[in-house]
């Protein structure tokens, strides 16, 4: 079953004098449990596409369905609620809240977005910090963590709300090769463990190979779909069915 369905999705940024077509009638479907990358050069529309799928922006044309919800025209509050319940985000610059510890950063969406009871929150946060290998650093502030550690915490934060989909925009751009590779492996492991769909964008050729499905974008158009990891995706789906979500 498709988690994301885009039909003729377009996004045009218009200023007073210039009109920029960031996405031009892009259509695709992404299955639940996929580990998928959008690749392309800078300005190809990767971030725009992720922003649309993540309900951070609205398309100027076409249809977009995420988790069986038409998200193309969600209002501000509806979009925020939808994101809080269904989507996790991993950012290029980690974007941890600097005044909160690693534990509190992961806990934050449960406090501010999902308003879970303290005991349940603690249980979930510790489980995820353990899963990303950051349990020992749980009381450290972001400034005390390395880039890779920060991204691990960010992954835990993205997963803690038990989203259907995690979007990661250039998650390894600020990391060295080894750490980038490790983070990709961790993301894939999380997908395997929790059955959550991971969609990320990258132009880092070193890690593209980790994706199971690759969509190439250029100049706002979808060029091709590479299903080098199709078999892996299917096996992941099977695996995910066996796992209980966090």
């Amino acid at each position: 079953m498709s988690l994301i369905v885009a039909k003729n999705l377009s996004k045009t940024y218009a200023t007073d004098s210039v009109e920029v077509k960031a996405l031009q009638e892009v259509s695709f479907e992404i299955e639940a449990g996929a580990f998928l990358a959008f690749i392309g050069p800078s300005g190809s529309g990767k971030t725009t596409l992720l922003n649309l799928v993540g309900c951070l922006d609205k398309p100027t044309g076409g249809e977009l369905q995420v988790a069986e919800m038409n998200v193309a025209n969600l209002g501000r509050r509806q979009a925020a609620e939808f994101r809080g319940q269904n989507i996790g985000f991993i950012f290029q610059s980690f974007n941890l809240i600097p005044v909160l510890t690693a534990y509190e950063n992961v806990e934050y969406p449960l406090v501010m977005v999902q308003e879970l009871r303290p005991a349940e929150r603690r249980d979930r946060v510790l489980k995820l910090l353990k899963a990303v290998g950051m349990l020992e650093q749980k009381n450290q502030m972001p400034e005390q963590l390395s880039g890779g550690q920060k991204q691990r915490v960010a992954i835990a934060r993205a997963l803690v709300t038990q989203p259907k989909l995690v979007l990661a925009d250039e998650p390894t751009a600020n990391l060295d090769h080894d750490t980038a590779y490790m983070i990709l492996r961790l993301m894939k492991q999380m997908r395997d463990n929790f059955g959550i769909t991971f969609v990320f964008s990258t132009h880092d050729t070193r890690i593209i190979g980790e994706a199971e499905i690759i969509y190439s974008l250029d100049d706002g158009r979808l060029l091709q779909r590479d299903e080098r990891g199709k078999a892996n995706v299917q096996s992941s789906e099977n695996r995910s069915a066996k796992h209980t979500a966090v």
Binding site: N51, G54, L56, D57, R76, R77, A80, E81, F82, R83, G84, Q85, I87, G88, F89, F91, S93, N95, I97, P98, V99, L100, Y108, P109, V111, M112, V113, R157, A158, T161
Partner: protein, 415 residues
């Protein structure tokens, strides 16, 4: 809520220098307001107490039109016996009244057998006068400081007159007056004390016994010029005055016409204008505090929002609803306000206590060596603190609203 406060507190700590400066500024404002209010209020209260407890009373009752003609002390405008009786009956029925004292006031000649001058005489019942004006006897600078100083045949001479006239305690003097029928009469009395000038219109006022006054004026009935009333709680003086008016059946017309007039101390003393000016100054000082808090909090919160745009974008992206982002920043402003208020109150009360203990002296008119004993009512502390906190939240409103309205996609792009 606890989490909001925790996050806000940490954000405040994040910008230590800026937060410290803001809190210091607010605290300084609070300290300034509290100390100013305490000092001015204590001076004001002291002066009002001086006026009401030593000369004027909390309120006075006269025959209609008497106050307007008080400079000539008209005997034909005294309250007649029937009115006095009615007033006394009314006063007895009002439980907020602590004491009252009848006075006969008249202008007289004061002679030491070689020189003569003018004097304003107040004929009073010693016990009743001292009950209505507890600080009356403390004004006696020379002579006996007790009700015996106002026994029959004695006179308390005002200091200014005694100095100019060379009158001393123990001297025999003559008081001569014309009664309302035009008949002149005099009485020899003994100077029992020298009376310090009271704050207000008391510079040439001497005191004799009520019966002596009646004798000099050849009065037969129980008529009086004024009745001075002491109330149990001075702030309630207006309510008591109104109760008396109601008790006497005085409407607006009678109040202005020829019936009976009830005046509070503030209507009789020019110091009431100074007291009003002090209140006005306090009000403007409080306005300054509001301005300080408003500007400093607004500044710090605008900076906070500007510097944390990406952070706001992040929390909005992960699904934090706009009203919660608004709350985050409002709580931050609230915490800054509370911290500033608490620090200010602690230091302010400390300074007030230090001033109270150090017993600084000051002069007021003829009175010298008065001790400054600033105290502050809890309501003033609460008002100043609440004002700071409310203004802090209000000042945070605009930046917080701006933060809550940010589009996450724009905020995340912010460099």
């Amino acid at each position: 809520m606890f989490n909001l406060v925790k996050i806000a507190a940490r954000n405040i700590r994040r910008y230590k220098r800026r937060s410290l400066l803001t809190v210091s500024l607010i605290a300084f404002g609070v300290v300034f307001v509290l100390v100013f209010v305490a000092v001015t209020a204590s001076i004001k209260d002291f002066m009002i107490a001086q006026i009401t407890d030593s000369y004027l009373g909390a309120l006075q009752i006269h025959r209609g039109g008497y106050v307007a003609s008080i400079e000539s002390l008209p005997l034909n405008m005294n309250l007649p016996p029937a009115a006095v009786s009615q007033i006394e009956k009314t006063l007895a029925g009002i439980k907020e009244i602590e004491a009252y004292s009848e006075r006969i006031k008249f202008g007289a000649l004061f002679s030491n057998f070689t020189e003569t001058t003018n004097i304003r005489i107040n004929g009073v019942y010693p016990e009743k006068e001292c009950a209505a004006l507890p600080q009356m006897l403390s004004r006696i600078s020379e002579g006996e400081k007790c009700v015996r100083a106002l026994e029959k045949g004695k006179i308390l001479v005002p200091k200014l007159l005694a100095q100019g006239f060379g009158a001393k305690v123990g001297d025999t003097v003559v008081v001569v007056a014309t009664n309302k029928d035009g008949s002149v009469n005099g009485k020899t009395v003994l100077v029992s004390g020298i009376l310090e000038s009271a704050t207000g219109p008391g510079g040439r006022d001497g005191y004799i016994n009520f019966d002596d006054a009646r004798e000099i004026l050849r009065m037969s009935g129980n008529e009086v010029s004024e009745i001075v009333v002491r109330v149990k709680s001075l702030p309630q003086v207006e309510e008591v005055a109104q109760s008396i008016r109601v008790g006497l059946g005085l409407g607006e017309k009678k109040q202005k016409g020829g019936g009976i007039e009830v005046h509070t101390w503030s209507q009789l003393s020019p110091f009431a204008n100074i007291a009003s000016m002090i209140d006005l100054m306090t009000f403007f000082i409080k306005l300054m505090l509001i301005a300080i808090v408003l500007i400093s909090i607004l500044n710090v919160m605008i900076m906070a929002v500007y510097e944390r745009v990406r952070e706001i974008g992040t929390i909005a992206a992960i699904g934090t609803l706009p009203h919660k982002i608004l709350s985050l920043f409002l709580v931050e402003g609230f915490c800054l306000g509370v911290t500033g208020a608490v620090v200010g109150v602690v230091f302010g009360l400390g300074i007030i206590l230090a001033l109270y203990i150090s017993k600084i002296t000051f002069n007021f008119g003829q009175a010298t060596g008065l001790i400054l004993a600033p105290t502050i009512a809890p309501i003033e502390v609460v008002t100043a603190s609440l004002m700071v906190i409310i203004v802090s939240v209000l000042a945070s409103l605009q930046p917080a609203f701006k933060a809550s309205r940010m589009e996450p996609i724009d905020a995340l792009r912010h460099v």
